[in-house]
Symmetry: C2
Subunit: 461 residues, 2 copies
C-alpha cells in the first residue's frame, strides 16, 4: 500500500478541482443523436484530449464517419499489464426540458438530504461522471509518482447513445493499437449506494423468427375446420413443447455448456436480499416463471431462457372472423449463459421446431442475430484483485453480479480485440440516466476515484 496511500490522499485533497473539471465537461452539450450538436461532440472530444495530454497521455481525436473517438496511450513499467479503459463522452437528449429542476448543461452540486450531495446535469452519471473517475485516478497517480502503475490505453466513444455505428469498423481498423490484456468498462451500477459490484457475466442472445405455413390460402373455419391443419395450433403446440413443467427448456442439447453456479456465488447473491417479491412486485407479478427452485437472481444472471417475444396469426382485428389462417409466426429469443454456443442452439431449435410441423405443412426460419454469453472466470486474478479493492474502499463486501441482457461493447471487445472486460461502475439505480434530472452522487464521484486508484494498484502489484 505504499504506492496507493499518497494517491488516495491526493484524490481527497483535489476533490474540488476534479469537480471543476467534471463541470467543464458537463457544460459541453455533446448530444450525439442530434446533428445540430455535432460541434459540441467534437468539442467534448477535444476537451478530453487536452485533459489527457495534461496528464501525460499521448492523446488524439480520431475521426470516424460519425462523431470522433478519443484514443490515448500511456506507458507503464515493463512487465505490467496493459489495460484498455472504455467510456463514452456523448449524452442523451434532454427533452422534455421543462421537467428539469436545474439546467441540464449547467451542472451544480446540491445537498438533497443531510450529508448527501449530488452532482446535477445531463451526463453527470452516464457517462462523463463515470469516465472522469478513472481519469482523476490516473492524474493523481501521475502527480504523486510521476508515472502510471501499468500501460494504459483509453478509448472514449462519441456515439454510444446513438447506436455506436462507427465502433465496430473502428475496432477492426485499429485492433493492433487497441488490443490490451483486458478492458475496464465503466458504465454500470453499484448494487446499491453502499455496496460496490462487479458485473461478471452478461447473457448472450439468439433471435429467431419462425413462420408455420399450412393451407395455400386462408380458409373458412366452417368449410374446413376439422380436416384442415391450423398453423396457429401447430405453432402453439410447438411453443408449448419448448418448456417442461419444471420450466426447463426441452430442446435437445440446450443446456450444453451451462454450468451450475458455484455455491459461494449463489450465497453472495442470496445475501443481496433480492426476493421474488422484491423483484417481481414492482411489475405486478409474484411467482417466478423460470426454472423451478432457483432464486430470481440466478434465473436472471446465470440461467438461459427461451422467451416468446411476439406472435401473430389469423384475424387479430376488432370483432371476430371464422378464419383458419394460411400461416402463423412467432419471434423467439434465447438468452444464453456460460459456454452455450449460439450456432448450436439455433440449429437445435430449428430441428426441434421442424420435427413438430406436420408433413403437409412447412416452417420458415429467419435469423435475428446471435451472440454468446460473457462470463468472467470467478477465480481470475483481475477479478479477485478488483473485488478486494472495492471491498476495502467501501467497507462492504463487493458483490459479483450478472447482467440479464447484453452490453454490446463487451461482446465487441471480445470479438474484435479478443479481450475480456471487467465491468465496474459507481452509478446508482436512481441516477435517472436518459431522463430529466440526471444526477451522480458526490459520494460515487469521490469514492469512485479512490476505487479506481485501488483497482489500479491491485491489478498491478
Amino acid at each position: 500500500m505504499t504506492a496507493l496511500a499518497p494517491v488516495l490522499d491526493r484524490l481527497d485533497q483535489n476533490l474540488d478541482q476534479s469537480l471543476d473539471r467534471l463541470f467543464d465537461l458537463l457544460r459541453i452539450k455533446s448530444i450525439s443523436t442530434d446533428p445540430e450538436f455535432a460541434a459540441e461532440c467534437r468539442k467534448a472530444a477535444d476537451w478530453l484530449v487536452e485533459d489527457l495530454k495534461s496528464i501525460g497521455f499521448e492523446a488524439s481525436v480520431r475521426p470516424t464517419p460519425g462523431h470522433p473517438m478519443v484514443v490515448a496511450h500511456h506507458d507503464g513499467p515493463a512487465g505490467s499489464p496493459h489495460i484498455l479503459f472504455y467510456g463514452h463522452y456523448d449524452v442523451q437528449p434532454v427533452d422534455p426540458l421543462e421537467l428539469w429542476e436545474n439546467d441540464p448543461f449547467d451542472p451544480a452540486l446540491k445537498e438533497i438530504e443531510p450529508g448527501r450531495k449530488i452532482i446535477t446535469g445531463r451526463g453527470s452519471s452516464d457517462d462523463k461522471g463515470q469516465l472522469m473517475l478513472f481519469v482523476e485516478a490516473c492524474r493523481a497517480w501521475k502527480a504523486v509518482h510521476g508515472s502510471l502503475p501499468c500501460r494504459i490505453t483509453i478509448l472514449f466513444e462519441g456515439e454510444e447513445e446513438s447506436g455506436s455505428p462507427s465502433l465496430r469498423p473502428f475496432l477492426e481498423a485499429n485492433a493492433a493499437e487497441l488490443k490490451a490484456d483486458f478492458s475496464l468498462v465503466c458504465d454500470t451500477d453499484m448494487w446499491n449506494e453502499e455496496t460496490p459490484s462487479i458485473c461478471t457475466s452478461l447473457r448472450g442472445l439468439v433471435g429467431e423468427e419462425i413462420t408455420v405455413k399450412a393451407a395455400n390460402r386462408d380458409l373458412h373455419s366452417g368449410m374446413y375446420g376439422g380436416p384442415a391443419a391450423n398453423p396457429i395450433r401447430i405453432l402453439a403446440n410447438l411453443l408449448a413443447d419448448i418448456h417442461d413443467e419444471q420450466g426447463r427448456v426441452t430442446i435437445p442439447g440446450f443446456y450444453d455448456g451451462v454450468e451450475e453456479t458455484p455455491s459461494q456465488i449463489l450465497q453472495g447473491w442470496e445475501a443481496l436480499g433480492e426476493t421474488a417479491e422484491s423483484f417481481l412486485g414492482p411489475i405486478g407479478l409474484s411467482i417466478p416463471a423460470g426454472e423451478k427452485g432457483r432464486p430470481v437472481l440466478e434465473l436472471l444472471w446465470a440461467r438461459p431462457t427461451a422467451e416468446f417475444n411476439g406472435i401473430t396469426g389469423g384475424y387479430t382485428g376488432k370483432g371476430f372472423k371464422t378464419v383458419i389462417a394460411a400461416e402463423a409466426s412467432a419471434k423467439i429469443s434465447f438468452r444464453l449463459v456460460h459456454a452455450q454456443d449460439p450456432k448450436k442452439i439455433r440449429a437445435a431449435f430449428r430441428q426441434f421446431a421442424a420435427e413438430r410441423v406436420p408433413a403437409d405443412c412447412s416452417i420458415d426460419f429467419h435469423e435475428h442475430g446471435g451472440s454468446p454469453a460473457i462470463q468472467l472466470s470467478y477465480d481470475s486474478p483481475f477479478l479477485t484483485g478488483a473485488k478486494d479493492a472495492l471491498t476495502e474502499e467501501w467497507g462492504k463486501q463487493a458483490v459479483m453480479i450478472g447482467g440479464g441482457g447484453s452490453i454490446p461493447i463487451v461482446g465487441d471487445f471480445r470479438s474484435y480485440l479478443g479481450m475480456e472486460s471487467l465491468l465496474v461502475g459507481f452509478a446508482l439505480p436512481d441516477d435517472r440516466i436518459h431522463s430529466p434530472n440526471e444526477k451522480y452522487d458526490l459520494k460515487s464521484f469521490h469514492k469512485g476515484q479512490r476505487s479506481w486508484a485501488r483497482i489500479l494498484d491491485a491489478l498491478t502489484s
Copy 2:
C-alpha cells in the same frame, strides 16, 4: 302418383315459359348492398308478388327498414302440413364487370358442351333460379289440380346478400303469421351434377376471445427474462392443452351431447368418394388434422372442433424486439354438433382456460356469439319423403350431407319460429355465385322444378 304425374308433365311442357319468367326476374338489378339499386330491389319484390298472385297466392310486399320482404300464403287441404318456403330475391354486386362474358343482367341460354345448357346472369343460381323452381312447381300443381297439396307460406327476403339486418325483427314481429310445421330452404348445392342432396346438419358456433395478462407493462427480456411470466408462453400452453394427441378436444364435458354418426349415414358419406386427398389437395394439404381415424366428411359435418382463428402478442412488426409482452390474446371458436350446448361449452372453456393461468396473472374473456348446431332427425318422415322424391327424380340415391358452417336463416327459423328446416338446393359447386359469370344449369332448373313437385307430393301424401 296420380296427383304428381300430370304436374310433372305440365312442368316439362312449360319449361320455356318458366325460363321466360326467370329471365324477367333476372333482368331486375336487385343488388341489395348498393343503395343506388333500392328501386330495383323493390321492383323485384313487386314482380314476385304479382307472379305469386297470378298463381292464387295471397301475396304482398312487406316493408322493412331496409329492402322489403315478400310474404305469400296459399291454403291447403285440411289436415295437410303447413310449409314455409324461404328464398331471397336480392343478388350480389357484379364488379368486376369486365370479367363477365355476358351482360350479368341480360340472361341468356348457352350450350357449353354438347347436351349441357346453362342460364347465365347474376342471380341465376343465387338465388332467383333456385327460388323460382318452387314457384314453378306450385304454378304447375295449381294449374293441373286447381289447388295446392298443402298449406304453403312463402318468404322471400331482399337483404340476404347484405347481412339480413331486417330479418330477425321481421320474424319476431310476424312469428304467428310465418310459423309453419317446417320450412324448406333452397339456397344449397347438389353434391355434384348427378347427385341430389339434402343438408341435414349444420354445425353451431361458440366464439371466444381471451387475453392473458401478466406484468403491468412490457418488459425487457434481458432484464426480466427468466423470473417474469410471459403471457405468450401461458397462452401457447393453454391453446396446446385444448387438443390431445388424438386430435380430441380435452375440455371437460366438451363432447356432452355429441352422438356417434349412424353407420348407414357414414356409409352414405363414404360412397360420395371424398377422400383426404380430394378434399385437402386443392388447398395444398394432405393429412387430416382433426380427430384421428375419422373420414374428412365426418370431421366436417358431424364432429365438433376447436379452432384458433387469431392470435397476437408482443412485437409483431419487422425485425426483432427483445420484449416480454404485458399481454397476449387469441380468438377461438368451437364448431358444435348435435346437442352440444353453447352456454355449457363456453363456461367449460372459460374454466379450463382460467385454470391454466398462473395465480399472479389474469385472463379476460370476451364473447363473440354462440349458436347451437342444427341436426335433423335422420328418421324424420319429412326427410325420408324428400330423400325418396329426389332419388326418384335424379335416378341416383340422394345423399344426406352436412354443412360445416352455419346458415343463419336455419338457426333463426328455429330460434324465432320454433321450426326445423329442410335444406334442398340444385346449385352446383361451379355456379360461380358471388363471382363474374354466375350460371345455373338448365338441368338444375328443369329437374329442380320436378324435384320440388315430387317433394310436395311426398310430404303431403
